[in-house]
């Protein structure tokens, strides 16, 4: 018996040791997630970098775009007396990080390859760098100094707390990187092409070269008030070769596929949640564009609710004794007859007719919704006012236009056409197979920058007027393509309602030519006037890139007080309107506190909340110092 016990004890002790000791390799296998990939791959990382390229995320549209469009008077409507304040922020400031991380990871992988292999991968790195520099410029626009030169390096032995580069340092660094990229893109040979792993250009280095030069121009125009010489030099470098300059066919209208399995919901469609209040059309802008028959107006703004059928429904309800009314400013465009009983019949549209009459802007002013002149037939502000009851059913109609949410977000769901109360017509947006397309670098942007730089004194092969015309024409063509790719309502007959005169908004070369005939769309050689026109066109072109639009308005002082084109609304005191986003007092929990505090001090920034308008107007980011006050007009 005792013998047995000893045996059992011995077995026990031995088993314990065996159990514990010899299975570390097995444990390594057990503890490795079978659904993850251990080895990196340069071209697949490259694709992810492209997918991560995000200049305008959900929070950008939800917060930032609304803030800046309020400050530079893009939107119409009644604002409160706190028009110069801002609440939450988000969406830019460090967008470059999610691309830069991949750029650095690719570099790290490449550095561990055979030396002979390494040079073959420079193309993909260069393209990735073009995207990260594009984002870095944007990140810096509203906040100033930021970490860049030391950023995104912790994985590779770098710092957890990268230093802030001043905008001067940042731009130097970006130009240095871009020049290196341009060298690779313009002369690379023996490169592993990303091919289909590059969904944008299929690895076409020539097209990426134009994007790289476009980013360079972004930097150049931003330098105009601080280092004009350098700005002009950069412009000349870009302008030296036509191969550097983007044309309409090459524009960077990107998409992220029509679905993805990355668990981020509607990521491929940009984002899932709606961004209510994309921006109400500003009457001043709409009137300017209509006056010049600028067809971009039809794409930038959606049609209002008053089509011919709806107008007739109001007439019918009135004939039945209903109290409903049509807004005066819509009736002004309606041609109708009145029969013996006083019943009205819609005959047609006056003025520019469909689709133009359906684009209606709203006046802008402080608390103007309470002004007597806007309370009755001229009311834009009471969303319940324009209601009709017909056939026992109610419907309320929006009399004015707003910016198209469908251009910044895919798969918005069904679009319901305005119809009389008793009928319904809908169209499903992105029902299948259509990805969302975003607007990145465009030929419109590039050429309008060149026009600006030429007027500022750059020595460029073409005249400012030529760049200007190319820019505006490209912009019109690109807007059309942007809308067609996104299949917005009314873009063609297939996307219109069945109401007979519901006209498609697509346009052709003739419409663009007609627009270009207007004096407001021609440069005349008067530098100040020409500069205003260039900035006005940038202002219009950047309707769907609100931060670029803000930067351009800030650089040019346009819209300008007293202008005959698009005037600055003087109810708003320009000196208390911020020219950058606020920075909060740094939290103690922020590991970057000391670095941030020092950077803010160096820039002369006071940490504030969003209601310090005067401070945020005077304490400007570096490259904005010397730029004109809001509405003051160009000072180059």
């Amino acid at each position: 018996m005792k013998h047995n016990i000893f045996k059992i004890f011995a077995a026990f002790a031995l088993a314990s040791v065996l159990l514990a000791g010899c299975n570390k390799e097995k444990y390594a296998k057990i503890n490795t997630n079978p659904s993850t990939v251990g080895e990196g791959n340069v071209s697949r990382l490259f694709t992810q970098a492209y997918l991560n390229f995000e200049p305008s995320s959900y929070l950008y549209w939800y917060y930032i775009s609304k803030i800046v469009k309020n400050f530079d008077q893009v939107n119409g409507g009644s604002t409160s007396d706190t028009y110069n304040t801002m609440g939450e922020l988000g969406g830019i400031g460090s967008q470059f990080v999610s691309v830069k991380n991949y750029e650095n990871e690719m570099k790290d992988l490449i550095s561990r390859m055979d030396e002979a292999e390494q040079p073959k991968y420079q193309l993909m790195v260069a393209i990735t760098n073009v995207m990260s520099t594009y984002l870095a410029v944007l990140d810096s626009d509203l906040y100033g100094s930021m970490p860049y030169s030391e950023a995104c390096m912790f994985r590779y032995g770098g710092t957890l707390t990268p230093k802030y580069d001043t905008q001067a340092e940042l731009f130097d660094k970006i130009i240095e990187e871009l020049d290196a990229d341009i060298k690779v893109l313009s002369s690379a040979s023996d490169q592993v092409s990303p091919g289909s792993q590059d969904p944008m250009y299929g690895g076409d280095a020539g097209k990426w070269l134009k994007v790289a030069n476009g980013v360079k121009l972004k930097v150049a125009v931003r330098l105009l008030h601080q280092d004009k010489t350098k700005a002009l030099k950069l412009a000349q470098e870009v302008g030296a070769s036509e191969a550097n300059i983007m044309t309409t066919g090459d524009s960077f209208l990107y998409n992220k596929g029509r679905s993805s399995d990355n668990g981020m919901g509607d990521y491929a469609f940009h984002f899932g949640n709606g961004v209510e209040g994309m921006g109400t059309a500003n009457k001043t802008i709409v009137d300017f564009m209509k006056k010049n028959v600028d067809p971009r107006c039809l794409i930038i703004y959606g049609k209002n609710g008053f089509n011919s059928e709806v107008i007739q429904a109001f007439f019918d309800a009135q004939a039945e004794g209903g109290t409903c009314e049509i807004p005066d400013y819509i009736m002004a465009d309606v041609d109708y007859t009145v029969d013996g009983d006083g019943k009205k019949t819609f005959v047609g549209w006056k003025g520019l007719g469909e689709p133009w009459v359906r684009i209606v802007g709203v006046p802008r002013g402080v608390n103007i919704s309470q002004k007597a002149e806007y309370l009755s037939g001229n009311n834009y502000f009471d969303s319940n006012k324009w209601q009709v009851k017909l056939g026992g059913k109610d419907k309320t109609y929006t009399p004015y236009s707003s910016q198209n949410e469908r251009l910044v977000r895919g798969r918005c769901g069904t679009y319901t056409f305005p119809t009389k109360p008793t009928t319904t017509q809908q169209i499903t947006h992105y029902s299948a197979g259509v990805p969302w397309y975003g607007m990145g670098m465009t030929a419109g942007e590039v050429n309008l920058y060149l026009a600006e730089l030429k007027l500022a004194g750059a020595s460029l092969p073409k005249s400012a007027a030529e760049y200007f015309e190319a820019g505006v024409r490209a912009s019109a063509a690109e807007y059309l393509k942007y809308a067609q790719l996104n299949q917005i309502p009314y873009i063609d007959k297939d996307h219109c309602s069945s109401i007979a005169d519901d006209a498609p908004i697509a346009y052709g070369a003739a419409e663009i030519d007609a627009m270009m005939q207007n004096a407001d769309y021609k440069l005349t050689g008067n530098k100040t006037a020409d500069l205003e026109k260039v900035y006005i066109q940038q202002y219009l072109h950047f309707m769907y890139q609100p931060v670029e639009q803000f930067v351009s308005a800030r650089r040019g002082g346009v819209p300008m007080k007293g202008s005959s084109l698009i005037p600055w609304n003087t109810e708003y005191d320009p000196t208390i309107i911020p020219r950058r986003l606020y920075v909060s007092k740094t939290n103690e929990t922020d590991k970057m506190k000391a670095i941030k505090d020092a950077a803010y001090a160096e820039e002369g920034f006071t940490p504030t909340t969003g209601d310090a308008g005067a401070t945020l107007n005077t304490e400007r980011v570096w490259y904005d110092k010397g730029a004109p006050q809001w509405g003051a007009g160009p000072n180059l």
């Binding site: 503890n31 992810q48 830069k100 289909s196 596929g257 993805s260 939290n587 590991k591 909340t609």
Partner: protein
């Protein structure tokens, strides 16, 4: 036969060693005072090591000298010494030990220990009391019963999770809940998988696997609190353990049958505060509707007399709701009884419905049927039971059922070789987890006082079957909250959860003082989810269907040796060695339709319009092997000491490359001294014990957590293009196991024949080297680091005071109290953490703008926020802004993150009183929480929108006539007040052009004629709005409550009545649970136990939960 004789002869020889007198064989039966046989009672020849145990029938046979003295002992019974005096038959009756009645305790690894020997705190809960609670979660039933344990219901509803936390939060991870161990099978107690309280309205809480436990089968439940108590459970016992053993069979005379039936009802009896005095409408300055508007076109018209009319000129509920979804409108006294168009287009009168939220609920009903059969012979005993529980929640379509079987058997293959086996099968079906209906009344749909829930809740469909819509001219198109009722009545999700848990253990009693065990168990946990949502479009177009399966399989195998050696009367030693092997695997797969269903209302994956979505993966693979040992000794029944040690080797700490600190050892030592045995104390001191322990527990981490890799992504660009995504986290390559060190001191003193008992514990615990993810500046290229860091300290006291003020033959009155106070402190974090890290919420964003944080030097769960106003130094008043749009003030948020207070309770307490008269018992229990802040989303917005009771204080105030140029000029208002506030810089007088009022108090500016009274209604809105809201008592408060948790009346019927129906026993009980809150300081009369989820850092209320009482009737019959 010959062989048997030979064995017997050898055995006899073996036993005969040391014999020197004439031996005889003594036989007999040991029973307790109820006549039940005592199984496994020790029968020892006094002064020797020779002994046997009684069998399943209480029988024994022992060879001993004819003049020996036999010592009969059993835990919980008084030891009996019986001289043999030559007798061959000695039957013994053992009486309960009056000092240690029921005080054997099941400790870690299922080892039953004498309570007096324990050097640490452990609380055993009467399992009968758990049954009267009748909760789906076995955690909820413990509420108020155990000192040192914080238990809170969550907002999870019928089968949602319940938070249980022992001695504070010891890790910065969200889950600080103890494990549950049932018959040696360790069950994880996962925290509820709920959405963020900031962004997810619905709780969607289906509870965890504990809901599959059947309390009917519980025999004992012990809460092990400190590290010394749980050290033997190893890493998984870091947060304590609740150890449950199930009932087992007894050798009985015949078969025993017991049956119980319960019938319960749940009734919503109250709701958080909703006002029913003011109708739908806006505050002055925003009144774009109604009678006055038609005449004057002025949004400043009197909102108390205005109400929108339809085209026919009749008041219309819908028109009013459409123009203003808030409830700042007219006093109902001005409109009650007026003819109006109702939401469904019919005509009726305007009225208010104070029960509108309560009317959303139904009477919940539940039944539980339990049948158990036990029995056995001299070789085998068994216990088998079946239970079925069915419950309907108070929300329609919210149901739960559970079918549970347990079969347990023990068989003596030989006298020395025993096999124990059990098999548990449970399948439960939670269906349609509780929805956040309250939010529709408080803030999302803003259902106004004139919304009659009872009338409208079934009016959401069009005749075509989808949601009523104006597009199809449906009658109910304008009825609010159609989506809510569609979700409640039409959408359907259920998950069928199956648990299969077999156990097997073989014991070999090698010697009276030594046995060996080998055993193992499995825990299979399978969840099969199915979602059927009909399309809400025209004729049910749309819709979705999904199926999911998740399987987790855990296996434990162990073997070991136990020894228990009595050297002499004074000195005993015991100990064990044990090896363990634990292995876990899980996998998941799901399919779901995409883009709607081809044929509406038909639910199968192939009915998907687009290619169905699918997901499948292996997860949670983990293995731990362990070696465990313990040694202990006792001396003269007054000094006890135990030393344990355990070493774990965990796969979760091994890197893909095969490195890793995966082996960790942790020891414990505990001891107790029974002073009342050592000293001759006054007679009124019945018992005096001191105890102390010190222990360490190690912990690993989640599977795969320390390893990283790329994730494959695929995007459809016409063809699929794949990409590789990097992790945003960098993981330390030298992670160590976490370590918790704890010590505790305690006393257990009893006086006046145990009429007063005091149990006091002081503990201090430090958790160090936590494996945690810390946020780092994302410009570094990573957003978080996985590191070892931190030192969290918890110290506190636990007091249990048990008294029996009255005790006579027929009457006994017990009053028991517990008191728990835990103090938490973050001693250190990590060098890469600047100062504090956010645990839950956000300090400067979101709806709450409050975060619970871990800040060095402060408590775990300190709340911080950027939403205090700034304060004026001169007056101490808050600094306000003035809005010329609304003619009132608001408080700009400071934007600076400041401390708000702690979310942790200052102390918890409970009291239970039981009055027994003969066979009648009446028990009432109370529990209380004092201190700790909570914040409520819905109280905030319901106040901003005029829905809450709190909003009533912002309605009427001073009357004055406005002199401000513009629309208000000459108008008289009735909602004025003079705020105690100071104007911020750049504020100009609304009355006198170009005169600054910056720096003045409102009163000063008012006195100088520079301002008029501020509008109170708009103020009530602004201070609680998303954009301008600040911390205030409308929605952020320190929470104190006292709950009348339970009242139970039970009656054991006289035996002769039972016998009349051929039963041995018959008892009845009636219980009311969650009956009332005697004190409740939650904001806006919210349910104080409705904090979102069960994570330890949750302080945010989101669900606007109603108050529900539970009633239960139970009948127990045994045959």
């Amino acid at each position: 036969m010959r062989k048997q004789k030979l064995i017997l002869a050898i055995a006899g020889l073996f036993l005969a060693l040391g014999l020197n007198a004439q031996n005889i064989t003594v036989r007999g039966t040991v029973t307790d005072n109820t006549g039940e046989p005592v199984i496994n009672a020790g029968v020892l020849v006094k002064g020797t090591l020779r002994g046997v145990s009684t069998d399943l029938d209480g029988n024994y046979a022992i060879n001993c000298p004819s003049d020996a003295v036999l010592v009969f002992s059993f835990i919980g019974l008084e030891t009996v010494e019986m001289p043999v005096n030559g007798r061959a038959q000695i039957n013994v009756t053992m009486n309960p030990d009056t000092e240690f009645l029921n005080e054997s305790v099941v400790t870690a690894l299922g080892i039953r220990r004498d309570a007096k020997a324990l050097g640490y705190a452990a609380t055993t809960v009467n399992t009968e009391e758990l049954l009267t609670a009748n909760t789906v979660s076995p955690v909820a039933s413990l509420q108020g019963k155990v000192a040192g344990v914080e238990i809170n219901q969550s907002d999870g509803g019928l089968f949602g999770s319940t938070k249980i936390q022992i001695r504070g939060a010891s890790t910065l991870g969200k889950n600080n809940q103890p494990i549950y161990v049932i018959d040696g099978v360790i069950l994880d107690n996962a925290i509820s998988n709920t959405g963020d309280a900031d962004w997810d309205g619905n709780i969607n809480d289906y509870g965890n696997q504990l809901k599959n436990l059947n309390p009917d089968d519980f025999e004992s439940l012990t809460v092990l609190k400190g590290a010394a108590a749980t050290a033997l459970y190893g890493s998984r016992g870091l947060n304590g353990a609740v150890v449950i053993t199930t009932k087992q069979g007894k050798a009985n005379q015949g078969i025993g049958v017991s049956f119980s039936q319960t019938l319960g009802f749940d009734k919503v009896y109250d709701t958080p505060g909703l006002q029913s005095q003011y109708l739908c409408g806006d505050f002055v300055g925003n009144v774009y509707y109604g009678d006055e508007y038609d005449k004057t076109g002025n949004p400043w018209s009197d909102n108390f007399t205005a109400y929108a009319r339809n085209d026919a000129g009749v008041y219309s509920l819908y028109e009013q709701y459409a123009v203003s979804g808030w409830s700042w409108g007219a006093n109902v006294d001005n409109f009650r009884g007026q003819q109006a168009e109702l939401f469904d287009g019919t005509m009726g009168t305007i009225d208010v419905y104070p029960n509108r939220y309560k009317d959303a609920f139904q009477m919940g009903m539940n039944t539980n049927t339990h049948l158990a059969i036990t029995g056995g012979n001299d070789k085998t005993s068994f216990y088998t039971s079946g239970s079925y529980k069915y419950a309907e929640g108070t929300t329609p379509n919210n149901t739960f059922d559970r079918l549970s079987f347990l079969v347990k058997a023990a068989h003596h293959i030989t006298d020395n070789l025993i096999v124990d086996a059990s098999f548990n099968f449970t399948t439960s079906t939670p269906r349609n987890a509780q929805k956040n209906i309250g939010e529709y009344f408080a803030s999302s749909a803003n259902l106004p006082a004139e919304y009659n829930t009872a009338y409208y809740k079934d009016k959401y469909k069009g005749p075509h079957g989808g949601i009523a819509s104006g597009s199809y001219g449906d009658q109910y198109q304008n009825v609010p909250a159609k989506g809510l009722w569609w979700d409640v009545y039409e959408n359907n999700y259920q998950q069928v959860e199956t648990t299969i848990r077999p156990t097997l253990e073989v014991t070999y009693k090698a010697l009276p003082w030594l046995d060996f065990k080998v055993g193992g168990n499995y825990n299979y946990y399978i969840i099969r989810g199915e979602k059927k949502n009909p399309g809400d479009g025209y004729a049910n177009q749309g819709g979705s269907y999904s199926l999911s399966n998740s399987l987790t399989q855990q296996m434990t195998a162990y073997y070991g040796a136990n020894a228990n050696y009595q050297f002499n009367d004074d000195f005993e030693m015991h100990g064990f060695l044990r090896g363990e092997y634990w292995d876990q695997r899980s996998q998941y797969n799901s399919s779901s339709t995409s883009g709607g269903l081809i044929i509406p209302l038909q639910y199968f994956i192939g009915n998907s319009i687009n290619t169905p979505g699918q997901d499948a993966y292996i997860s949670g693979t983990k293995r731990i092997t362990s070696a465990v040992g313990a040694v202990g000794a006792s001396w003269r029944n007054q000094l006890f000491v135990d030393i344990t040690g355990r070493n774990d080797w965990s796969s979760a700490l091994v890197y893909t490359n095969g490195t890793g600190n995966y082996s960790y050892f942790y020891p414990s030592i505990s001891g107790s001294w029974i002073a009342s045995e050592t000293f001759d104390l006054p007679k009124w001191v019945s018992f005096m014990k001191f105890r102390a322990s010190i222990a360490q527990v190690g912990n690993d981490t989640s599977p795969y957590y320390i390893n990283s890799g790329y994730t494959i992504k695929k995007s459809d660009f016409g063809g699929l293009i794949s990409s590789l995504e990097m992790s945003s986290q960098i993981k330390s390559l030298d992670l160590r196991p976490e370590r918790k060190t704890s010590w505790e001191l305690g006393i257990d003193w009893r006086f006046f024949s145990n009429r007063i008992g005091l149990d006091f514990t002081y503990y201090k615990e430090n958790t160090r080297d936590q494996i945690m993810s810390i946020s780092v500046p994302s410009v570094s290229g990573i957003s978080s680091e996985l590191i070892n860091a931190g030192d969290i300290q918890n110290q506190g006291i636990e007091i249990a005071l048990n008294t029996t003020p009255v005790e006579t033959r027929d009457l006994r009155w017990d009053v028991d109290f517990t008191f728990t106070r835990n103090r938490n402190k973050i001693i250190s974090l990590h060098e890469d953490v600047a100062n504090w890290i956010v645990l839950d919420g956000s300090v400067d964003y979101g709806n709450y703008r409050i975060g619970s944080v871990a800040k060095v030097g402060s408590e775990y769960g300190l709340l911080m926020t950027d939403s205090f106003p700034n304060y004026d130094e001169r007056t101490g008043y808050p600094i306000c802004g003035y809005t010329t749009g609304m003619h009132t003030i608001f408080y700009p948020r400071s934007g600076e993150v400041r401390e708000l207070g702690s979310m942790n309770p200052k102390f918890l307490s409970s009291a239970t009183t039981t009055l027994r008269y003969k066979s009648l018992a009446l028990r009432a229990s109370f529990d209380a929480r004092f201190g700790g802040y909570v914040a409520s989303y819905n109280s905030r917005y319901a106040t901003a929108y005029g829905m809450s009771t709190e909003s009533l204080k912002y309605r009427e105030g001073m009357t004055w006539t406005s002199q401000i140029a513009g629309q208000t000029y000459g108008m008289t208002f009735h909602d004025g007040f003079i705020p105690e506030a100071v104007f911020r810089a750049n504020t100009m007088s609304p009355l006198k052009k170009d005169v600054s009022i910056a720096g003045m108090t409102y009163q000063e500016a008012y006195d100088q004629g520079l301002v008029e009274p501020a509008h109170l209604q708009a103020y009530g809105y602004y201070i609680n709005s998303w954009g301008n809201g600040v911390i205030n008592e409308d929605w952020v408060k320190e929470l104190n409550y006292i709950a009348l948790r339970e009242v139970t009346l039970s009656w054991s019927l006289p035996t002769r009545w039972a016998n009349a129906i051929k039963a041995r026993g018959l008892s009845l009980s009636a219980t009311g649970r969650n009956l009332a809150y005697l004190l409740n300081t939650a904001p806006n009369h919210e349910n104080p136990e409705a904090v979102r989820g069960t994570g330890s850092s949750n302080f945010r209320m989101r669900s606007f939960s109603p108050y529900t009482r539970n009633y239960l009737l139970t009948i127990n019959i045994s045959f």
